[in-house]
């Protein structure tokens, strides 16, 4: 019985870009800055593709919440092999206060609407580092969760997931449907090739707003300020070992 997967993708500032704070100190500069798909979401899409290639999955729906440019991210996922997309439009000025909780509510509604068996997300987004969406989505749906997955296998009863935890690897078994989140070592994602990029242009992408799904977008936070980390100060050269020891004592690093 082939499964249906809903994969979430977020458009974030490319990991290689040097982040700059806006002059009003309420956010970071995004205008004209290179964006790409959140790397963990690439891994999520890749895993869904591998399950499709193993004939465990027969349809991959990719969803992205964001402004108009989120379509680029959806197209990339379609070029990687997803079957169709859903673009949940969020106006640019609402993006700063669009939180994981809102995303989880959207995903939960979509999961029910599309009757999917697996919701597959990246474990966190590299811009906010929240690591909340998968867990909250599972809770809203009352589905089991397999987060930080580094290996996913299908069993008769559902799924067997190996998770990366602080102490090592944890193996859990869940029933279906379930919410999963991809960790770094789950796979190495494929590149989108030109023929697939061309094919992706023809794949269907549905547009909707959170209101269409009955999700309340009201912000629950207010950004107070965004600041650079403190500038690195010049180091002090010490004359010799005695000097070093004296300085360490002075700064309270040594009691002896």
């Amino acid at each position: 019985m082939a499964l249906k997967v809903l994969v979430g993708c977020k458009r974030v500032i490319d990991y290689a870009v040097k982040i700059r704070i806006k002059p009003d100190k309420l956010g970071v500069v995004t205008e004209g800055v290179k964006h790409s798909m959140n790397p963990f979401d690439e891994i999520a899409v890749e895993e869904a593709m591998r399950m499709k290639e193993r004939k465990l999955v027969n349809e991959i729906i990719v969803v992205s919440c964001g402004p108009a440019q989120a379509m680029e991210t959806i197209r990339t996922a379609l070029a990687m092999g997803a079957d169709r997309g859903i673009h949940v439009e969020i106006p640019v000025d609402k993006m700063d206060t669009f939180q994981p909780l809102h995303v989880s509510k959207v995903l939960a509604k979509l999961a029910e609407k599309e009757k999917v068996d697996i919701v597959m997300l990246g474990k966190l987004a590299i811009d906010d580092d929240s690591n909340q969406t998968a867990q909250m989505t599972a809770s809203l749906l009352d589905w089991p969760q397999g987060v930080f997955a580094s290996k996913i296998d299908k069993t008769d009863a559902g799924l067997e997931i190996i998770r990366e935890v602080d102490g090592g690897l944890e193996t859990i078994r869940t029933t279906l449907p379930a919410v999963l989140s991809a960790d770094l070592r789950l796979n190495e994602p494929r590149y989108a090739t030109l023929p697939n990029i061309m094919k992706a242009k023809k794949k269907k992408v549905e547009k909707m707003t959170p209101a269409d799904l009955g999700v309340d977008m009201a912000p629950r936070i207010q950004i107070v300020s965004v600041e650079d980390p403190p500038v690195r100060e010049a180091g002090q050269t010490v004359a010799d070992v005695d000097d070093l020891v004296a300085k360490l004592k002075e700064k309270g690093f040594s009691s002896a």
């Binding site: 290689a16 190495e188 030109l194 697939n196």
Partner: protein
């Protein structure tokens, strides 16, 4: 003519131009910035000279030398900004030493220009002061190309000039500044289905790769820098800025004018500074498969390669690792390959193309006594399969911890490869050296990593001897003394052997026309006379 600049023996040609007869024993010394001891040495030579015709500037005191250096520094600071000029010890040290085994000489000053215009002004200043100019990209070369053998100003064009100026997806081309390395470019394009396939191993500057005429493991299918460069923006020693294929030109082909792009490509910084490169991009292959197969002898492996090429299989990578290399890889990466010569292969194409290519090569390998044919399609599995090849260099160094490697680089017609490899291995064994071998067999190009103890000059000398012998054999077999690393300093004599005196003289004439003061990266590729 009294010129300020580097104390040096002026070439006969220069003296003739200045009005002296070619037969006069003339020693002319110019004063300028340089380490005082070098100046003294030259000064001593003047005193020992019998001829009466000695032209030199009044003996400089240490203050004079320092002053002329200060003046130069001030002029450079006025162009690039005071924060972008340095003569700090660690800075100059880093800029004189590349990743090869030869100790490099530090420049006197390093500048970090931010635009082609600034590079041009820097060159004009250096020309006025008669000071050598050494272009610097990422310093990842292996032949001492950036060593400032006569001191001078190192122009680091990668630090501040690091933009991708244009990417033309539909035309498969891009224009990049020197600070863009090939991995940076590929990261930028990864979601667009495009890549830049020239892969010399190191994460080198693309413009630097143009300067050395770099190549890599993918050359058998995608070509070297020579086949993938459409245009270069170059700053000459006198500050003129030219575009080798036309201003803003990037057509796939052109019959317009002399092929200046080819001239500057591979000139190793001796003709000008490359400030931007227009390069060819390729489509990321739809499907990639990797395979590894072992053979009883190198001959078997090379025969497989030759037959594969004759069957027109469009191989993307064909790498030969000899048994010494396989042993090193096994030990370093915890693998268990049989210690025999192996071919590491990569296939690119559509899924069906890759499948049929793999089948063809599997059969050819079997016909040539090939062993188990391991292959993989999944990204991680391919990575695992190729780990041995990727870590080859580090595996070699680990064979003898603390040692360095003299990496040789010769290229011969593919049919000559087995003989050359056999002869080289015999030579290595005779000299009691360890020299694992890695080859881009599809191109007839191979490298031996001759290991030496840096504290043992005799061992280094033996390595050099083996390397030179290999290069000379390669030339005799119709090949070249350097397939991809460039001549730098170490292979200047070999270049003479390969081209003959007239060939080198033509190069000298061209150099003389474009760089009359001999300031561009002196001491490289060929000697002054």
């Amino acid at each position: 003519a009294v010129m300020r600049g580097v104390p040096q023996l002026l070439s006969r040609a220069r003296l003739v131009r200045a009005g002296f007869s070619a037969s006069e024993p003339v020693l002319a010394v110019q004063a300028g910035i340089l380490q005082p001891d070098k100046f003294t040495q030259t000064f001593v030579q003047i005193r020992g000279l019998k001829s009466s015709k000695v032209i030199y500037q009044a003996p400089l005191t240490a203050v004079d030398i320092a002053d002329s250096g200060k003046q130069l520094k001030q002029e450079l600071e006025a162009i690039v900004g005071p924060g972008n000029v340095s003569s700090g010890e660690s800075v100059v040290l880093q800029h004189g030493q590349d990743e090869g085994p030869h100790p490099g000489k530090s420049p006197d000053i390093v500048v970090f220009p931010s635009s082609t215009g600034e590079v041009s002004e820097v060159c004009k200043i250096c020309t006025r002061h008669n000071v050598p100019i050494i272009p610097y990209g990422t310093g990842t070369g292996l032949e001492g190309g950036i060593s400032a053998v006569e001191g001078g100003v190192c122009v680091n064009v990668s630090k501040n000039m690091n933009k991708i100026l244009q990417i033309h997806q539909e035309d498969f081309s891009a224009v990049v500044q020197p600070g863009i390395s090939r991995e940076m470019l590929n990261q930028e394009m990864r979601a667009d289905g495009l890549w830049f396939p020239v892969d010399p191993g190191a994460d080198a500057s693309v413009c630097g790769m143009c300067a050395t005429g770099a190549s890599g493991t993918n050359a058998v299918r995608y070509g070297t820098m020579k086949e993938n460069c459409l245009n270069l923006e170059v700053v000459l020693a006198d500050g003129r800025i030219i575009h080798t294929a036309g201003i803003g030109s990037r057509p796939k082909k052109s019959s317009a004018g002399y092929n200046l792009t080819s001239l500057f490509l591979g000139s190793e910084g001796t003709l000008g500074i490359i400030t931007s490169a227009t390069i060819c991009l390729h489509a990321i292959p739809e499907s990639v498969a990797a395979a590894v197969v072992g053979f009883p002898t190198v001959q078997n492996a090379v025969d497989t390669v030759v037959m594969t090429l004759q069957c027109s299989v469009p191989m993307a990578r064909m790498e030969l690792l000899d048994e010494v290399q396989m042993k090193a890889c096994n030990e370093y990466s915890g693998l268990s390959y049989p210690e025999t010569p192996h071919l590491f292969l990569e296939f690119h194409g559509s899924e069906s193309e890759v499948e049929s290519q793999t089948e063809t090569v599997r059969d050819i390998a079997a016909d040539n006594e090939g062993g188990e044919f391991q292959w993989a399609v999944q990204q991680e599995d391919r990575t695992k399969l190729w780990t041995a090849r990727h870590r080859a260099y580090y595996a070699d160094i680990a064979l003898r911890p603390g040692c360095r490697s003299l990496t040789t680089d010769v290229c011969v017609p593919v049919s000559a490869l087995p003989d050359l490899v056999t002869a080289t291995k015999a030579d290595i064994a005779e000299n009691g050296l360890i020299g694992p071998m890695v080859g881009h067999v599809g191109d007839g190009n191979f490298h031996t990593m001759l290991l030496f103890d840096p504290a043992d000059p005799e061992e280094f000398r033996k390595c050099k001897e083996v390397a030179n012998k290999m290069a000379r054999s390669a030339i005799a077999l119709g090949g070249t003394c350097t397939g991809e690393h460039g001549v730098g300093q170490g292979k200047m004599a070999l270049l003479e052997e390969q081209f003959g005196k007239d060939g080198i003289d033509v190069m000298r004439q061209i150099k003389g026309a474009l760089d009359p003061q001999q300031l561009m990266n002196p001491g490289k590729v060929f000697s002054r006379n």
